[in-house]
């Protein structure tokens, strides 16, 4: 017990697993029989629901408390000793491949663990209220707890393979939860789409892991990264090899974190329940790719080509999906494209070597985007399931708490100074300009995307909460504020969205940038050992930094102003614009026809190929072998059956002939010898 509370680190993933077991038992043995018996009618809430509603958030809350205590204990150590590895049990031992199941708590994984358990706990509480009318209540929380377990395994694992287990686990839970309402065709299709898109990326991670093991002879983070300088010097780890490993890892990240070209699954994932969108598809799972890239920063820094690819993909995704967000009418889809766009920012930061900024934005984004999704869920809840913003409006007076909290989150994501999003986004913008990997072009794209972000987010707020009500009168009658289980998490997340950035105020604004100091032991030794100066100690003048900051704020304000003009002052104008450029509007409205393009370019081809293989190879070749074997036996039997004529004398004669032949053979053998 020399490590105090840190020896209980295993409890952090184990507690949600306990929730899975308990809720799973309830779901199987109480809820399933109940639902099968009731078959539709819903008279009174059965008692097990209360138990589930307690267990599910409680285990996650307890995991958060344990994680918090562990992190505090870690923080009390000196800065260079803040890596705690707990080996749980030997897992795989095959030849030179030794993979123990171990957990690693260091500044990076502690940020992730706190965000995952903290935001996860709030969303669990929220879910209790949001899913209160849901029939498969226990099943939902089993999946949600299982997700927490997988996600914590992912972020706390001490090696790539265990991380991959969590990586696949969250993918599975994502699939299960997107398709939670599986009776709905679109939901089950969206689940499959997410799973398949993720699998494409996972293939990259798998191959990258093979390469890592082949190169380093180990999969554990500490061993691999310790060997980097050595192998670099001895020439084993060439730039080409590092590029291959990192590009494959990044392929996995594009799948999990919804970047071009694999982002298409995330908007469709909105078919799942809204708290799921908040937890998995905004705050935690989709950031796993960013976490993995940041975790492997030592390798990425050796591959300048990969860094450029990451930065460019991030920047292009940021602006590309932001423009799609402008024309969406479904409130959750706007937020989904916004998530894709914000994840693009994080990858842009990774690509320019500013891993701290990426993780910082990951954290603040988890706060404000989870809040936005939960807020939209509260709106949808109030409107009995309506998601179309064209049928909202004037909701301010019906759902005041939701409005205020969501407005705070909108200000944060738009980058209004003082709020969390401002600090993290501005850090990324500054790094993309000033870092050795950065360039003014990247800055310009990111700043423009920030302006578009401000525009579509305020469009969302204006359409939803302001102006005349466009609601169905029947729906409007029932519009109500959500219960406390939903509004309390909203309020806490709102406070975090406002204040969460204050731990990373940059030096130029007189802050201490605690966040950067906290993460420095993870990223900076890397920078010293790497071929390139990482998070860029390049000295630009502070006036430039302040100037760029002011410029990006001005761009964001322009976006807000434009949204105000179009959706508050001249409300007829958007339709006129759409009419003036019908082709442009059509293309953007249909998400640049990317889904249709993939359908044509990839899916059609695969279907055709598969059909061809089925009809040519399977039906002709494989079936030919099987049927041929059967035909052969049948033909042989047809010949042989004639021997059985039914005449006993004939049989006796054959018997005699056989005996004579046998005896003759034996005699012949004995004579010859």
């Amino acid at each position: 017990m020399v490590n105090g509370i840190l020896d209980y680190l295993w409890l952090v993933p184990a507690l949600p697993l306990l929730g899975v077991v308990l809720n799973g038992a309830i779901a199987l043995f109480a809820e399933r029989p109940f639902l099968l018996k009731e078959a539709g009618s819903h008279h009174e809430a059965p008692a097990y629901r209360k138990l589930v509603a307690f267990i599910a958030p409680a285990v996650v809350g307890a995991a958060f408390v344990v994680a918090l205590l562990c992190v505090l204990s870690l923080a009390s150590r000196p800065a260079d000793g803040r890596t705690f590895v707990q080996i749980l049990f030997p897992w795989i031992q095959a030849g030179s491949l030794l993979v123990p199941a171990g957990l690693q708590l260091d500044p990076l994984s502690s940020v992730m663990a706190l965000v995952v358990t903290g935001v996860g706990f709030l969303i669990h509480v929220y879910s209790v209220g949001y899913m209160s009318h849901e029939r498969a209540f226990a099943r939902y929380f089993v999946y949600l707890n299982l997700f927490m377990f997988a996600m914590l395994t992912l972020v706390l694992a001490n090696n790539y393979l265990l991380m991959f287990v969590g990586w696949e686990g969250v993918g599975l839970c994502s699939y299960l939860l997107i398709g939670f309402w599986y009776e709905k065709q679109s939901a089950s299709d969206a689940g499959k789409k997410a799973f398949i898109a993720n699998r494409i990326g996972d293939f990259g991670v798998l191959v990258a892991m093979f390469l890592v093991f082949w190169t380093f002879g180990s999969l554990s983070y500490t061993e691999v990264f310790a060997k980097v300088p050595l192998l670099r010097e001895s020439g084993v780890l060439t730039t080409g090899l590092a590029t291959a490993i990192t590009l494959l890892l990044f392929l996995g990240a594009t799948g999990k974190s919804a970047q071009i070209p694999l982002y298409v699954w995330l908007p469709d994932a909105m078919e799942g329940p809204t708290p799921v969108s908040a937890l998995i598809h905004a705050a935690t799972m989709v950031t796993a790719g960013v976490y993995m890239v940041a975790r492997s920063s030592a390798l990425f820094l050796l591959a300048p080509d990969t860094m450029m690819v990451v930065a460019v993909i991030g920047a292009v995704t940021a602006i590309f999906s932001a423009t799609i967000g402008i024309c969406q009418t479904d409130i959750k889809r706007v937020l989904a494209y916004s998530t894709v766009s914000q994840l693009g920012y994080m990858f842009l930061a990774c690509g320019v070597g500013a891993f701290t900024a990426a993780i910082f934005h990951l954290m603040t984004h988890a706060f404000f985007k989870a809040l936005l999704f939960l807020g939209s869920g509260s709106v949808i809840h109030a409107l009995s399931g309506e998601q179309d913003m064209r049928k909202m409006g004037g909701l301010k007076k019906y759902v005041p708490v939701t409005f205020v909290t969501m407005f705070a989150a909108t200000l944060a994501i738009a980058g209004i100074p003082g709020l969390s999003g401002f600090f993290s986004k501005d850090e990324i913008l500054w790094q993309s300009f000033s870092s050795t990997h950065g360039s003014p072009a990247l800055w310009a794209i990111a700043a423009l995307a920030a302006g578009i972000t401000a525009f579509y987010m305020f469009r969302l707020v204006f359409l939803t909460f302001f102006g005349e009500s466009r609601m169905d009168p029947e729906v409007e009658k029932h519009a109500h504020e959500s219960p406390w289980t939903m509004t309390v998490p909203l309020t806490i997340l709102a406070l975090l969205s406002i204040a969460g950035g204050w731990i990373g105020i940059p030096a130029v604004l007189g802050g201490g940038n605690l966040f950067e100091h906290w993460l420095a032991p993870v990223f900076h030794p890397v920078a010293a050992a790497g071929a390139h100066g990482a998070a860029a100690e390049v000295h630009h003048s502070t006036t430039l930094e302040i100037g760029l900051m002011a410029l990006s704020v001005a761009i964001a304000l322009c976006g807000i102003g434009l949204a105000y003009f179009l959706y508050r002052v001249r409300t007829g104008k958007p339709a006129e614009i759409a009419k003036a450029w019908p082709t442009l509007y059509d293309v953007v409205y249909h998400k640049y026809y990317i889904d249709e393009f993939y359908e044509w370019a990839v899916i059609r081809r695969i279907v055709n190929w598969s059909t061809g293989l089925w009809q040519m190879f399977d039906a002709l070749f494989i079936d030919g072998i099987v049927n041929g074997a059967a035909d052969l036996v049948r033909a042989a039997g047809d010949r042989v059956r004639r021997l059985q004529g039914g005449v006993v004398g004939g049989y006796a004669f054959s018997l005699l002939a056989g005996a004579v032949l046998l005896v003759g053979y034996i005699l012949y053998r004995s004579v010859v010898q």
Binding site: R642, V648, L656
Partner: protein, 100 residues
């Protein structure tokens, strides 16, 4: 003293007559009798060899075969009677239901 080969020759002749009876005759009763003849042909060989070699096993084996032959005759005749009651014939060429 009669040469041992004479006993074996007798044995072979009895066995051969039995074989021809089994293969050539159509009456099941005759076939059964022919089978008995074959068995007795073998018995002759057993006893002769036992006597020639001074080994009692030959005689013992002959008794063994007789016992089996008696059992076989009992079962065979019982089957024959059952067959006759069913088909009203003992002609083996008439009995060819068991074929494909």
């Amino acid at each position: 003293m009669i040469a041992p080969s004479a006993y074996l020759l007798l044995s072979a002749i009895l066995f051969g007559i039995g074989v021809v009876g089994v293969v050539a005759r159509k009456n099941v009763l005759i076939i059964l009798m022919s089978v008995e003849l074959m068995l007795n042909g073998v018995n002759v060989a057993f006893v002769a060899a036992g006597s020639y070699l001074g080994d009692a096993a030959g005689g013992v084996f002959a008794f063994m075969v007789m016992t089996v032959a008696a059992a076989e005759a009992a079962v065979g005749l019982a089957l024959l009677i059952a067959l006759y009651r069913l088909k009203e014939t003992v002609d083996i060429t008439e009995l060819k239901v068991l074929k494909w």
